[in-house]
């Protein structure tokens, strides 16, 4: 019914020709759609599951003041179980702070070098190496913390135990560095070259260009890189479980062992009866973690979007 001359604009006619290409095209479109949708379905599914498991506890048993303000996590006490997360929150926070103190200067420095100074081969190699860091499984990092960092810290600082905030912080810092570096590098790349040229034409050296122009121009991107790094460090489980000492105390120094929120879930969930208060309390921690990482990622996302709209 469709008479098509060779002169007809292809754009209009293309949709009506149901040849093999059309079907292949449609097939892949649908396949992509299903993949895209399923990602959303999974996220929502996970959220519902976690929330369902923890909700009963949050609504009925949970004492909000105790949950957030008490350092005592004694879920297995027969007489009086308490569910305070303060020590774990403090431990997680301490480790995150140390990890960022290590990762941020390192990553931003690396990103500046890669984006502004390195050329050709060096640049490609550096990027590959940093991506390789990102590919190391977290249990291997935990192993490094346990077997290498632990004795090293004991010896260097003359402390009784090397599984502590410092150890976990270093490990998490190294783990977060690749993401921060690559996002920070994108932020530097997004700074238009005309700015560099303008500043150099005014007589600025490369360093002056970096700290007077590039850094201010890229600061939102750097902020979101830092936030995603925080999210990464915060949510990490295995490595921090192995490197932190897993002791339930509010740390007073970087040499104190701590226990992270994530590590608590990982360590205890397998041994609690499904549906028990303890089990539900662990899910409440899960919801808490979920909320915080969600907020961190959203904030980072908003900042990035802010940059694009500028």
């Amino acid at each position: 019914m469709n008479t098509r001359s060779d002169l007809s604009p292809t754009g209009n006619a293309a949709g009506d020709i149901r040849n093999q290409d059309w079907y292949v095209d449609k097939f892949f479109q649908s396949a992509m759609f299903v993949c895209g949708i399923s990602a959303i379905v999974f996220v929502i599914g996970i959220f519902i599951f976690v929330f369902k498991e923890g909700a009963g506890f949050i609504i009925q048993q949970m004492d909000w003041a105790e949950f957030f303000l008490s350092p005592k996590w004694r879920p297995t006490s027969a007489t009086q179980a308490t569910y305070g997360t303060l020590a774990m929150v403090a431990g997680t926070a301490a480790v995150t702070v140390i990890s960022m103190a290590i990762a941020l200067p390192f990553s931003f420095g690396a990103a500046i070098y890669i984006a502004e100074f390195a050329q050709g081969r060096t640049r490609e190699w550096l990027k590959v190496i940093i991506e390789m860091l990102a590919a190391i499984p977290s249990v291997v990092w935990g192993f490094i913390g346990l077997m290498i960092m632990n004795p090293l810290i004991i010896e260097s600082f003359d402390v009784p135990i090397g599984l502590n905030v410092l150890n976990a912080g270093i490990i998490l810092g190294l783990m977060a560095a690749p993401i921060i570096t690559s996002i920070a590098e994108d932020a530097f790349k997004a700074v238009p070259d005309t700015y560099r040229e303008a500043a150099e034409a005014l007589g600025a050296t490369k360093w002056q260009v970096v700290y007077k122009v590039i850094l201010p121009a890229a600061k939102n991107g750097l902020l979101s890189a830092a936030l995603l790094g925080v999210g990464r460090a915060f949510g990490e489980t295995m490595a921090v479980l192995m490197a932190s000492g897993h002791a339930l105390t509010i740390p007073g120094s970087v040499f104190d062992s701590i226990r992270a929120l994530t590590a608590t879930i990982a360590a205890e969930l397998g041994e609690t009866p499904v549906g028990s208060d303890h089990y539900q309390a662990l899910f409440a921690i899960g919801i808490f973690l979920f909320t915080i990482t969600f907020i961190i990622n959203m904030t980072a996302d908003f900042i990035v979007r802010g940059i694009k709209n500028q």
């Binding site: 560099r196 040229e197 034409a201 007589g203």
Partner: protein, 263 residues
Amino acid sequence: MNIQENQPDIAIRTVSLNLWYGQFQALFDVNLEIKQGIITSMIGPSGCGKSTVLRSVDRINERLGYVRITGAINVLDKNIYDVDVDLAQLRKQVGMVFQRPNPLPISIYDNVIFGHRIHRPPGSKLHRDEEDGIVEAALRRVLLWDKVKDKLQRKATLDLSLEERQKLCIARLLPVKPAVLLMDEPCSALDPKGTAAVEDLIWELRGEYSILLVTHNMAQARRTSDECVFMLMGRVMEHSKTDDMFVTPTRRETADYIEGRYG
């Protein structure tokens, strides 16, 4: 090279300048003498090498990393390719205005004082009042002060018109007291009103600075320049007083170009 006591009257002199972008030769045996204190315009069809000449004079071309030259470029009788030349010093002497206004993504105030802060001897710090004075003087010079005096701390990339941005880009060159201003089609991104305003400004600056102005706009070259250089395919075809060039061009190619027979 000797330091000259009396100022030379040639601001820029190129001697047998050849330039290659990688394998591609963009300039052929360019010999130019740009006089001090006047406005010299540079015209020629697209791709003839006008920007290339300008970008060699403040050595900004070197950013590319694959540019090679032979010959010499003297700015105020100093060969800028001598080994003892300090790039920052050269760029202090030679200011560049680009085709697209490119204020830096920092405040208007910081844009204007940027060059001054960079070229200040390390460790020395100016009093805030002195900086304020410098910024105001520069902005007044480009007739922008009244427009921006209430938003000096606003980011320069936010709410200035193209004309205002281009004026700002000129203003930020002035605090370091350059001798030469290179302008690469400074009005081509502007509307007629903005063009007229910036042209007036360039004329304003005549005498105090030696200005080399690239333009595609024949009328602009006639209006604003004392001398004119016509380039074609990487070579200088003709260099004479602007009035002479437009009335009695000596070369066939110049006449053709002026009369619009090239793209």
